[in-house]
């Protein structure tokens, strides 16, 4: 088996496992939902079949046991209890291990999980009253029709008919009206349809089960025949599958399509809802992104040359190319965007596990799942969010009895929401727990020497203390969190994404952590400024406004470094001094007011050159420790401009302000 085929199998198995997990989690909320049971069963079955085909024998064997257990749920023999579903969830994780690391030794762990599963099934058996008595004999009229490529997909109609016959007395009539003349017959095509009269003691579900793996791809009508002549209407739509769906199904992946084999064991008819999507390796997208980046740089060079020239034709072409490259950039960005739903989806399982571990009842609600963020950003957000959710569940939410005592509902709620705001996405994690205990934070901060004992500190600053390394207010280290490594790691990750983090909390009412993350890490709109001889880029999303700072004002403000902006005092940094340019100030300096979160400062520059599409290039390790710059970019003339790290500059400005205040 080629490595490629195995890689494809693994990609699909991962997706399948994801679906199984989502299905199981849904099942916890709606244990009665038959569709969910079927979906999970189908997922397990596919995994078993394809696993065996690709030589993942341990996976196939293990999945087989789970499938058998789950089949009893599907046959209404046992109820889908929370315990049973959790056992299958744990088994699913084991399947994932078997799939990712087939050569490892997982037998012992697998046996434990299976024992657990068996116990859960037995218990479910004891609680669940078996399903209502089977109905008596019914006669069903079944019409089914397979798509013309059915053989090539490995479907064996004879096996389907044999299975129908197993259910009871059946008479089969083939509909041969579509069979073409001999010279037009394509031997690998399928032309027949069947009409079956089946008398059985089994219900409709049993008949549908026969077709369960081909159903999405075929036309199937099942009608109960009370009398030979009387046909009940109105019941068919549930079993109807639209033929259009069959047409929309793309070619099955050659890697999974078997040449021969038991057709029932191979699920070839995966329903694919989004007919027109292409799977592309992420590094190809990155490559394309690089090319677009280079194009943007070349375009701004062209723009500069055209601007200096008087040739109207050159200018027109340059404008066209400018528009095109801008559009290309935007399209490229959209390609890399994925909805945060893919991220939020993972946390349902986390909440489920956390609830079981802590014994708390937790409800997760999500909002704004369609908000899109750059794929690389999403991936790097997963860990910080896990930390934050764990924190909320572990530290934030109270035990059910404490909640009731505090007049709250027994079930704690954690809400995840996302929305876009300018060039940023804001992700908020909110819980309705006890809130952050200020006294404890203060005590801890004083103990660690972060603040002077008894020093006055604003509530906001006090809460920010929790992001200091080694800071944890949990008195006992729990299994979940409380090692004090979480929050500073969260902050570092968010910083590295050029985002910011803010925490708000009301005692007794809960806490709220907001993450502000830039939409993309690749290209931003920037404001190009000049300080001394050097050119710098300020991310446009951080810019609030630009003002003029006359020499007079500059002189007057010396020593206090504040400007008053609509009755508010805004501290400012003279970049000329910060960067030690050694040049005299321009006659008309400019102040660019930038903000990061709630804070704002002014940056004094010599000249504002204009806006600039900035392709972000990272700095080498030799300059990585400079907190003033977050990267560099290449300008139209081939020169390099450094990108200012606004969050750090704002922090620097605030610090300077604090020092000034102390000095006064």
């Amino acid at each position: 088996m080629s490595d490629d085929a195995i890689a494809v199998f693994q990609v699909e198995a991962r997706e399948n496992l994801e679906l199984i997990e989502q299905g199981l989690l849904d099942l916890l909320d709606r244990p009665e939902d038959r569709d969910l049971v079927d979906a999970v069963f189908r997922g397990l079955h596919t995994l078993k079949g394809s696993g065996a085909m690709f030589g993942f024998d341990a996976l196939a064997a293990f999945t087989h046991h789970c499938e058998s257990a789950f089949e009893r749920v599907r046959k209404d023999e046992v109820a889908a209890t929370a315990d049973l579903v959790s056992a299958v969830l744990a088994a699913r994780d084991h399947m994932r291990r078997l799939m990712e690391d087939p050569s490892g030794d997982h037998a012992a762990a697998g046996d434990l999980l299976l024992a657990d599963l068996e116990r859960a099934v037995r218990e479910a058996e004891a609680i669940a009253p078996t399903f209502a008595a089977r109905p008596g004999m019914t006669t069903w009229r079944i019409r089914f029709d397979l798509p013309s490529n059915a053989f090539r997909n490995g479907v064996n109609p004879l096996a389907l008919l044999a299975e129908l016959r197993d259910l009871g007395e059946a008479s089969v009539v083939a509909d041969m009206s579509r069979v073409p003349p001999l010279n037009l017959i394509e031997p690998t095509d399928h032309y027949l349809a069947w009409d079956v009269l089946l008398t059985t003691d089994q219900g409709r579900a049993a008949i549908e089960d026969v077709f369960i793996f081909v159903m999405d791809d075929m036309t199937l009508e099942i009608e109960a025949v009370e009398d030979a002549a009387c046909i009940e209407g109105g019941e068919t739509e549930a079993a109807m599958v639209q033929p259009a769906a069959a047409l929309a199904d793309p070619m099955p992946n050659p890697a999974t399509a078997p040449a021969v084999g038991d057709p029932v064991d191979v699920d070839v008819a995966r329903p694919v809802r989004i007919a027109e999507s292409v799977r592309v390796p992420a590094d190809r997208l990155d490559e394309l992104m690089d090319r677009v980046g280079e194009l943007v740089i070349a375009q701004s060079r062209l723009g500069q040359i055209a601007h200096a020239s008087a040739d109207p034709l050159l200018r027109a072409v340059s404008e066209d190319i400018g528009r095109l490259s801008g559009e290309l950039r935007d399209t490229m960005m959209v390609l890399r965007m994925v909805p945060v739903a893919t991220l939020f989806g993972r946390f349902r399982r986390l909440i489920h596990d956390l609830a079981r571990e802590t014994g708390k009842a937790i409800e997760l609600s999500t909002d704004g799942e369609t908000t899109e963020i750059d794929k690389t950003v999403i991936e790097r957000l997963a860990d910080p969010l896990i930390h934050l959710i764990r924190n909320a569940a572990d530290h934030g939410l109270e035990q059910p009895e404490d909640r009731v005592a505090a007049g709250k509902t027994e079930t704690g709620s954690i809400c995840l929401s996302a929305h876009q705001s300018g060039g940023e996405v804001v992700i908020v994690i909110r819980d309705d727990g006890r809130g952050i205990d200020r006294e404890r934070v203060r005590a801890k901060a004083e103990a660690q020497g972060l603040i002077e004992p008894g020093a006055a500190i604003s509530d906001h600053d006090l809460l920010q203390m929790i992001f200091h390394p080694g800071f944890s207010t949990a008195q006992a280290v729990t299994n979940l969190s409380g090692r004090g490594v979480g929050m500073d790691v969260v902050k570092r990750t968010i910083d590295s994404l050029r985002g910011s983090i803010d925490v708000a909390s009301r005692p007794g009412e809960g806490s709220e952590v907001s993450l502000r993350i830039p939409l993309t890490l690749a290209i931003i709109d920037g404001l190009l400024v000049r300080v001394g001889q050097g050119r710098y880029v300020i991310p446009l999303s951080a810019v609030e406004e630009c003002l003029e700072l006359s020499l007079d004002e500059d002189r007057r403000s010396r020593g206090r470094s504040f400007i008053s902006l609509r009755d508010r005092l805004v501290p400012f940094l003279r970049l000329r001094e910060l960067f030690a340019t050694g040049t005299p100030p321009e006659l008309h300096q400019k102040v660019v007011v930038v903000s990061s979160g709630e804070e704002r400062i002014g940056l004094v520059v010599d000249q504002i050159i204009g806006d600039h599409q900035t392709v972000i290039k990272s700095m080498s390790k030799l300059h990585a420790s400079l907190s003033t710059f977050s990267g560099a970019t290449i300008l139209g003339d081939g020169g390099v401009a450094l990108i200012l790290d606004i969050a750090n500059l704002v922090a620097m400005g605030q610090e300077q302000e604090a020092q000034m205040r102390e000095a006064v």
Binding site: G534, S620, K621, L622, H623, L626, T628, A632, G638, L642
Partner: protein, 173 residues
């Protein structure tokens, strides 16, 4: 090649009997560096000063659409820093920084030639009587009546990177 640089300078030259090097001039001294490291030799490019950076790598340049640091060995060896001449070139080399292969530009006053140095002609830097830091020199190679300095590039770069990150990275090597 980095293995060569990583050995203690007293061991001088290790490995192959011959090595192909690029020789260049810096403040009147003749230097050589492993030719395999060299990516390209380019004319002086407009530099962008990075405020606050270590003067050893105080600026960055645009090298084929990438932003790479420009390093000055004269700072490492305390050589006199003269003006650029018409012969000044930037030698772009690849070097490992913090586990990552990184392109870095090196300022030179003049690039001479690619030549082969013999192991038999090399000697470890004397531990006394040198005006340069011995740990920055891999070995000295005698050719005709002059000495060619083979700098321990990896050590120089590690040092200048570590200078900015005092604690954690010292134990890395």
């Amino acid at each position: 090649m980095s293995a060569q640089d990583d050995v203690a300078p007293a061991a001088g030259w290790t490995g192959a009997e011959q090595v192909e090097v690029l020789t260049f001039e810096l403040s009147g001294e003749l230097f050589a560096l492993d030719a395999v490291r060299v990516q390209e030799i380019i004319d002086l490019a407009p530099e962008t000063v990075v405020p606050g950076a270590d003067p050893f790598a105080g600026s960055v340049i645009n090298f084929r659409g990438k932003v790479i640091p420009l390093a000055d060995l004269r700072v490492a060896f305390d050589l006199e820093i003269g003006a650029f001449t018409i012969d000044s070139r930037i030698v772009v080399i690849e070097i490992e920084l913090d586990g990552e292969q990184t392109l870095v530009g090196l300022r030179t006053d003049k690039v001479h030639e690619v030549t082969t140095l013999e192991r038999s002609a090399s000697e470890a830097p004397p531990s006394v009587g040198m005006r340069w830091r011995p740990e920055f020199i891999q070995c000295l190679v005698k050719r005709k009546d002059e000495f060619i300095v083979v700098p321990a590039l990896q050590a120089i770069f590690n040092q200048h990177q570590d200078a900015r990150q005092p604690v954690a990275s010292q134990t890395r090597h």
